[in-house]
Subunit: 637 residues, 2 copies
Amino acid sequence: MSVEKYDIVIVGAGPVGLLLSTCLARWGYKIKHIDMRPEPTLTGRADGIQPRSLDLLRNMGLKRAIMAHEPAKVYEVAFWDPSESGKGIHRTGNWKSCPSFIDARYPFTTLLHQGLIERVFIADMEKYNVQVQRPWTITGFKNDGADKEYPVEVNLAHVDGTAKETVRAKYLFSGEGARSFIRAQLGIGITHKDPIQHVWGVMDGVVRTNFPDIKMKCTIHSDAGSIMVIPREDNMVRLYIQIASSTDPDFNPRKTATTEEVQNFAKKIMKPYEISWDRVEWYSVYPIGQGIADKYTLDERVFMGGDCCHTHSPKAGQGMNTAFLDAVNLAWKIHHVESGFADRSILSSYESERKLIAENLLNFDAAYAKLFSTRQPSAGEIGSATATAAEQQPQEENQFIKMFKESCEFTSGYGVAYNPNIFNWSPEHPAKSPLFLSFADKTTTQRTGRIMTASTVTRVADANVVHLEQEVPLNGSYRIFLFGGKPSKTQKAIADFAAGLAKKTSFYSAFGHLDSDKVSYHERHNPHSPFFTICTIFNAAREAIEVRELLPELIARYFDHVYADDIWDQRVPDAKAAAHAKMGLSEEDGGVVVVRPDGYVSAVVKLVEGSGTVDALNDFFAAFSTKSLGGGEKASL
Amino acid sequence: MSVEKYDIVIVGAGPVGLLLSTCLARWGYKIKHIDMRPEPTLTGRADGIQPRSLDLLRNMGLKRAIMAHEPAKVYEVAFWDPSESGKGIHRTGNWKSCPSFIDARYPFTTLLHQGLIERVFIADMEKYNVQVQRPWTITGFKNDGADKEYPVEVNLAHVDGTAKETVRAKYLFSGEGARSFIRAQLGIGITHKDPIQHVWGVMDGVVRTNFPDIKMKCTIHSDAGSIMVIPREDNMVRLYIQIASSTDPDFNPRKTATTEEVQNFAKKIMKPYEISWDRVEWYSVYPIGQGIADKYTLDERVFMGGDCCHTHSPKAGQGMNTAFLDAVNLAWKIHHVESGFADRSILSSYESERKLIAENLLNFDAAYAKLFSTRQPSAGEIGSATATAAEQQPQEENQFIKMFKESCEFTSGYGVAYNPNIFNWSPEHPAKSPLFLSFADKTTTQRTGRIMTASTVTRVADANVVHLEQEVPLNGSYRIFLFGGKPSKTQKAIADFAAGLAKKTSFYSAFGHLDSDKVSYHERHNPHSPFFTICTIFNAAREAIEVRELLPELIARYFDHVYADDIWDQRVPDAKAAAHAKMGLSEEDGGVVVVRPDGYVSAVVKLVEGSGTVDALNDFFAAFSTKSLGGGEKASL
């Protein structure tokens, strides 16, 4: 009997599995996706979408569907502590969840229950004919290599045991959550960073209260206990209540509490304010400890991500967001290997990039918990931390504020920073051209391994004011942002750049479409290569840019990706060309910013006359692409 | 046999009928809505949503559904004329469709085919159990008063004659379009403003071209003829081609042309550029003349709106937008009469307000057509017209630029200005308090009968940054914007204002909920009265505003409608309280801006200690409400 073959088998239809599935479905992969639950999450569970994740969802074209559910938006966090009089609580401070020193398009956390988010992904996958098979579970797997192309055998079964399937796949992915069968089978251990375990109660419901900050995120400490308040869609509010801690003398990880007990507990904590419940939508008590998987993969065929790899407290609303970024990181790397662009060895960077972030998250989580449970900031401290950079008094930058600032950046998602590696250029990269610019040298503001700074420009083709960082959708392509400076100054450099790209052995042409004559006239993003989209930004007024006169044919083909850098930006008020200025590039001479398919900066290169700029990029891509580039030898990894 | 009774019978499910139906359905009216077409518009027809209309759709909560269709957005218009060399065409200028001197949230025209827009309304109506009955038509009607409450008898029939219905209604509305049975039955004539008639060809399709402005709105004049280009959703483009004019010696209003003839015509006009069609989605040829109905109603029971009342050229994309504003204008007036708030005599203001706008539109349309077909602006003229107010050189303000500016404001929808009447205060209004502020006196920037200026503030309850003008949805209520200035200065004035509102005979309390104990604890907009929502805006930092401590209980009940005026605005860069400044109110002392349910300013009143502010508003509302207010006599109309 012939066995059905898939590019990937994905187990678990929570955030990590669904985002991975959505990406790969769009890019044409054959997917078997199973979940042991009979239907998507109905109520409760994760709910916080951080600012950077919203950028990502928008880049996938899914933000509007999320926002159609009218989620709550959290712009500020308020801190409540015992009153000095000893009676009840009072507010001791508040701060922005994403202060203005972070250049975020959406400086708020979006709160929406996980099931609604899951359904947005599921609806998108279905457009590409991928359904989640429910309620099915995985019963076994082995990377036996019996089929070289599909080395992994996977055994699946209906949860009631009435049906079984055995399939083969190129990859197997576990998005199973904390209790992972796959991780257990692989014998991968969990390291507990913070030995303290907690039992949490969480309750979603509609309340009546005179507590003034009920529509904000709050941390309330009272002599009666502690509570976290998080607003939700549909006029709901979520309360997190710590029910037990392993530091308690009589700690029992199976300790529980009824709805009524938790409500009475909350009533005591929130005095002198009153609170009562119109209805409770969801209530759960669960023990949680910090943990991180020792490995994310053993063989680069069977991968894991999301809660399967890292668990932590729900306090900072990071779980789903980290899951999203795990998934997108793996998705484009699998795509680049399977489509013949990149060497299989790049798959090791999934673990090295994402495990570091999880470790940072767990360290942060432990510190955050400590911060919340020990010392409360005064209003004065907060004021200076939320001020803009220009207003800050350096002498006030104490340790607490520093940590707060760092954690704002981290929790918003903009602090995610991948270390230098083959994708994220540094002086240690095999590509050694002196034309690479760097944050360390102050020759650019863009940091490799970090998200590209947001900027607003005018699209020449239709005069639409657009967000440059969103112009290339999440389509698996590298984004080549050619900042063209003043057209009169860079004309030759751009012509030389185009000539360099046109050479058969360039990184760009070596991976051109195999059936280039079948490419649609209307293709906007990938007319020449599925792996690159070129955006050109000039320091000029829109009406002065005649795309087909100003640009060589190869670049003019990206007619919808030519922009005028003519929109004033409050963050660089004196700049004539704000996007150039925000990138830290010369407004006259421009430069080239290369961005990974997931939005993180790969490299920044000077734009020069001659072959230097393309030579530098050939060397850069040669470090991991499957072909030797630029006519020379393939650089070694 | 008992006859079914409806609040309103609406004939025609185009933009005007659908928007009227959507409003009245939400407000609980019983509606019979018919259309003679078997289904909504499939292709073509109207497609331009102007900036102000997008505000309106957002206020109805429908913008997101419109935008989900990824419409084209037109930010600029380009002008092409015969080259001086005598060969082909060249661009002679471009300008913004909504220049920066207009304070628009969405400074672009949204292009989407009418059928998709219709479906957004239909989906919303269905939530309120209103369906369009198709394909049905009206066969007769009479306002016979046989039933005092439902004076209009309406005869309806299936278009194939297989079924008939006779119903009674309080109102009958014709949204039938230019060929109106109802208008004909009423014997209402059409006045033709501009005697010139035109035959237009219009074609929607996907093209291939090297014409650089194919994604912008363009007017192309060549020696071979004239064409208008309008981008559309789904990579389509619409071409309007004038096929014949009544000024032609051999004019025939039934002149036609095949798809191929029009395409060949376009090819000649667009030389030296090339154009060809991948597909044509819609093609139509139709004669159009300017016309305006002499009356919009005879008896204030049978009303008409939209194309039924005014026809004009499609050049400025005004048809659907004028229809929307007809509908919303009528909707809240019917609602206020039927719910007992306003005197029946207010219904006469539907015609007086909307016919004036239609007349302005037709005058504009004639001038616009003339402008397009005679003199082309030079690039220099355009440059100064699109500059911001601060950059303008007054000496360059020639007649053309002046007309251009006026028409930009008008075509964007922000130029719609209703004359003074009972709703739009002026010194001639029965309310004579010296506390009324006015644009003429420069005591406020807000003009009665005009849309309230947009401003951005921070909502105190949840720290969300919001658009103040959108905070009260289109729910049929007047919007009382209480600008509170500095809380320390206005404390007594606000207390007195609240005390005045609380008096039984105030405009506010006289129309309180009849069953006030049944109002939900969670009601945000109308806790006290279905006719008023109060928004309070303070010149203070958000964290300094403790709603329940600062505000009297009556106003604090609008807990979700208290705002901090703490967001910097580029248009008033020196203001500490930008929203106050934009309204032209004292940042210290505030003031009260009363806005009609449709977003137009009714009156602006000084905020003073004592009873004066409420007295002024009592007099204002007494001019048309059904009760005597303020304890005095009812003012006469």
